[in-house]
């Protein structure tokens, strides 16, 4: 028991390099934070659930919008439009015009329906055959049915419509896809709303995580005071709280992905049927999250949670001093 026997205790504490101290400090803080998480499974689970659900919501809406958009893009391309030509145009001029338009890259197909063909069709389909025979002159114009090439966007379609409408031979362009464009505008609004909502939900995460860390700090006030008395600096005391924030963010982000993926799995069957109605069979694909999107969500969860811990600990560490 003589003091002199314990040579270990007599040699002064030799500090290793600053970087090594920093590294071992973080390694042990990250592990002890994980240990603390597992010792308070309920509290940790609540936070992870909150982060997960909060992030899953905008993510899920985003995925749905993305899928709806891919369907509606298809509608856009599938729709032909009709160009009615001026009454006095000759068949020859109409044929020339059709050939000219056909050469455009943004047009896949042009079909000329002459006034005579149109009249025959109309007679057969309308049932007014006898009455129409009484007309001295065919009242119908020549018309072109135009199918735009599939790589057109909503904007380029609108431009195409305008250009053809401005041609001297054109009387009227009938474009049945205005509602598709409206639908796209609505999707754009929804996307905007998601962005705003995501910002708000992100703030909610920061507030909730920050508040949890604050309570955690309050509960450990005594421990923090003692640790400071023994010579710990703010950085040392902050570390486990920052790591707690990191783990909460990571696990919350993963949980958000699980929610979204499970939701997509549930929707897969009915969604495929719906998509199948609009798309050619064989092209059916419900887009889920890409690796980039998944890592963005996990990254966002970590950043938000870590930020909250950072701000809260910075605020409270200075306040708690030994008394």
């Amino acid at each position: 028991m003589a003091v002199t026997r314990n040579t270990d205790a007599i040699t002064p504490v030799r500090s290793s390099s600053k970087f090594n101290i920093w590294l071992t400090g973080h390694a042990s803080a990250s592990l002890s934070a994980l240990g603390r998480l597992s010792r308070q499974p309920f509290a940790s689970l609540m936070i992870i659930l909150v982060i997960g659900v909060t992030l899953a919501l905008p993510t899920a809406i985003n995925v749905i919008v993305k899928n709806v958009q891919s369907i509606s893009d298809n509608w856009n391309n599938a729709i032909d439009f009709s160009v009615y030509l001026k009454q006095d145009l000759s068949i020859k001029d109409a044929e020339d015009m059709a050939n000219l338009i056909k050469q455009r890259a943004d047009i896949e197909l042009v079909d000329l329906i002459t006034a005579d063909e149109a009249l025959i069709d109309f007679k057969q389909q309308s049932g007014f055959g006898e009455a129409l025979n009484q007309l001295s002159k065919n009242p119908l114009p020549h018309a072109l049915i135009i199918r735009p090439s599939p790589d057109n966007t909503g904007a380029s379609l609108a431009l195409l419509q305008e250009e053809i409408g401005n041609l001297p031979e054109t009387e009227l362009v009938q474009f049945d896809t205005e509602w598709v464009q409206r639908f796209h505008a609505i999707l754009d609004i929804i996307k905007q709303a998601i962005s705003i909502g995501t910002v708000l939900l992100g703030m909610a995460i920061v507030i909730i995580v920050g508040n949890t860390i604050r309570l955690d700090i309050e509960n450990k006030r005594e421990e923090i005071e003692v640790t400071k008395l023994v010579g710990a600096g703010n950085a040392f005391i902050r570390r486990p709280f920052l790591w707690t924030g990191f783990w909460h963010g990571l696990l919350g982000g993963i949980f958000a992905l699980l929610i979204v993926q499970y939701g997509l799995y549930l929707l897969r069957e009915p969604a495929s049927r719906l998509v199948g109605l609009y798309q050619d069979q064989g092209k059916i694909a419900v887009t889920s999250l890409t690796i980039t999107e998944s890592s963005t969500i996990i990254g966002l969860a970590i950043v938000l949670s870590l930020f909250a811990s950072w701000v809260t600990t910075a605020r409270y560490m200075r306040q708690i001093e030994p008394r």
Partner: protein, 223 residues
């Protein structure tokens, strides 16, 4: 080693815990501070530990003027001083080993490397066999010894103790004081606040008596 020069500590209310106190403790001394509660014993130790700052005067510890130690340098300063408290201030959520290892972990020593030092410190307070227990399962005297092991695990040059035997019966008190005595024999400077004058007289150390924040007398039985 510890020098106070005309130190005054005034509280916001205006009353003075210390009034113009000057004293000097040499390297390797073991000194007791006595006095009634409210005489300024704790305040003196708090100034040395930089828990408080003096309103006036200077506190110099190991040639460092504590006045000039900036706030963010306080942790590094405290790591040079061992501190023992009346209520031990142990962390009950972790075993004895971790409590004693805490100052080493703070200093950046890995748990594995800290092991030998922690066991050496626990051996000196005869608690090697209790390293896995939680502090609250130990007796008051054992808890205080764990607190002492934590204070000396970094081998500080100065050790300050505030009423370390305040909650202990005479036998345990003597045991704790003997432990302090052994540190003193290997060169540690000790400043211990206590009101147990009978015990102090038995040990025969220098005594600084405080009264109303001032020096009452300086009794050195060796002179």
């Amino acid at each position: 080693m510890i020098k106070l020069d005309n130190v005054t500590k005034r509280f916001p209310g205006g009353q003075e815990a210390l009034s113009g106190l000057s004293l000097s403790i040499e390297k390797g001394e073991m000194v007791f501070v006595t006095g009634h509660s409210g005489a300024g014993k704790s305040t003196l130790l708090r100034l040395i530990a930089l828990i408080d700052r003096p309103s006036d005067g200077q506190v110099i510890v190991d040639n460092q003027n504590t006045q000039r130690i900036k706030r963010r340098k306080i942790p590094a300063y405290r790591r040079q001083i061992g501190m023992v408290f009346q209520d031990h201030k142990l962390l009950n959520d972790r075993p004895v080993f971790d409590n004693v290892a805490l100052p080493l972990i703070i200093a950046g020593i890995s748990r594995r490397d800290a092991g030998r030092r922690v066991r050496a410190a626990l051996d000196q307070v005869s608690l090697l066999h209790k390293e896995k227990q939680r502090p609250e399962t130990l007796s008051a005297g054992e808890q205080q010894r764990v607190g002492i092991a934590r204070a000396i695990v970094t081998r500080p040059k100065v050790l300050i103790a505030d009423e370390p035997t305040g909650n202990l019966d005479p036998d345990l008190s003597l045991e704790v004081m003997r432990i302090f005595r052994r540190f003193n024999e290997v060169g540690v400077t000790l400043l211990i606040a206590s009101h147990d004058i009978a015990l102090i007289d038995r040990l025969g150390c220098r005594r600084i008596a405080l009264e109303d924040g001032k020096l009452q007398q300086e009794a050195d039985p060796w002179q």
